[in-house]
Symmetry: C2
Subunit: 213 residues, 2 copies
DNA sequence: CAAAATAATGACCATAAAGTCATTTATCAT
DNA sequence: ATGATAAATGACTTTATGGTCATTATTTTG
């Protein structure tokens, strides 16, 4: 009856290569749930299946782990989209819709929401991280949107409005969806589908009824 | 030369009535800047011109101060607007614009941004606070928007679109403006004016050029 | 103008969590 | 097999800060 499983794994394993990624993943989730300051490295360790001391073999301190966690996730959000934009055969409206869909997909089906949650709630206090995310992702996204909208205007599909100068505003409802799920979803849940449908409708058509002029 | 100013105020003052408000104000700002977990009660005390122990005469613990700080700010955001809505003489479009203007004003000229900053970044981890804010502010705001949009649809000013079911989506660009100023404004500043102009244009007109359809 | 009442202080305690490091042990090279 | 290497451990130290409380000083009041 005493715990003596015969084929038990050795309690300790050396896995130099896998560890950092595992610790980063655990850290990312803890940081997203608790915030940077309230995250305990011991919890991160537990989640990664190691002991606190092990973290320090791979990361100098909490800040460095935090940075590494962010960096690990930033990469591919807009990359997929980038190819799409240049090669897209259809109308700019269809293209933009495809981009929106992609963003909602990533936001609700991958760890992007974890990253955004961290950026939104900690970005202000960690300029390094905010800047990194800005240069790696946001600025690219903005450039992409600028291009799509400019093309749409050129082709006569879109009006030449202030969105040409502030293109990220067409993503605002997606940001709101993120903030909403972070804070109020518990009391007033909104399905991603509904948000996306309303988003697309509003951004293309606006509220106003198509009156005479 | 030794510090013996003749008319110096007594170093200690008893101000039972003013203290709580001062501590709350100091707390609010510290919480907004550092976040709940990273805020040090000693800093709050210093900012309020008292000593840490004094805080505990008025608040049981850090959580209670936090709650008090939130509650102190929630009150009047939509109240001003509420009167406006019922009495407004003009079109629904003008009414909505007035509401938007009011929100941007409050967001950038009062402490509303401080509150929103806290709600956005800490709401997820403090359900009590999020729920309080939701019931006190958000739900009222939503009801108001619902009313305005329904009226607009009725009068033929607005299309009957998904925004009727998800009215807060028309505020999304304002939320985005808030998130933006919290995180990326440092690297890529956007004036509130520009944001608001783009917001209004997008929400009423949408992107699409008014083609024959 | 005492003397009681209590706001404010600052020194203190308790605890939690970051960070360190000598020891243990899995893995690798010979 | 055996010794060398270094990954992993866990017990330890340090520090920070939330929270307490006896003492001090300012009002109040009788």
């Amino acid at each position: 009856m005493t715990d003596e499983t015969p084929n038990a794994e050795p309690p300790r394993k050396r896995r130099k290569d896998e560890r950092p990624a595992e610790i980063i993943e655990a850290g990312l989730k803890e940081f997203a749930e608790k915030g940077f300051a309230a995250t305990r490295l011991e919890d991160v360790a537990a989640r990664a299946g190691v002991v606190k001391g092990t973290i320090y073999r791979y990361f100098a301190d909490k800040d460095e782990l935090f940075e590494a966690a962010i960096r690990s996730q930033v990469a591919p959000v807009f990359d997929h989209v980038e190819a799409l934009v240049d090669a897209f055969p259809g109308s700019c409206e269809e293209l933009l819709k495809a981009v929106f869909r992609r963003i909602y997909e990533q936001m609700f089906e991958t760890d992007l929401n974890v990253l955004m949650r961290i950026i939104i709630s900690e970005g202000g206090r960690h300029p390094k991280i905010a800047e990194y995310y800005y240069t790696q992702s946001i600025s690219k996204g903005r450039a992409l949107l600028t291009k799509i909208i400019a093309r749409g205007v050129e082709r006569g599909e879109f009006r030449a409005g202030p969105a040409s100068d502030l293109p990220m505003i067409v993503l605002a409802p997606a940001i709101m969806a993120m903030v909403w799920t972070m804070t109020f979803d518990r009391f007033d849940p909104v399905a991603a589908e509904r948000f996306m449908a309303a988003h697309i409708d509003l951004v293309f058509n606006g509220l106003r009824a198509n009156a005479a002029h």
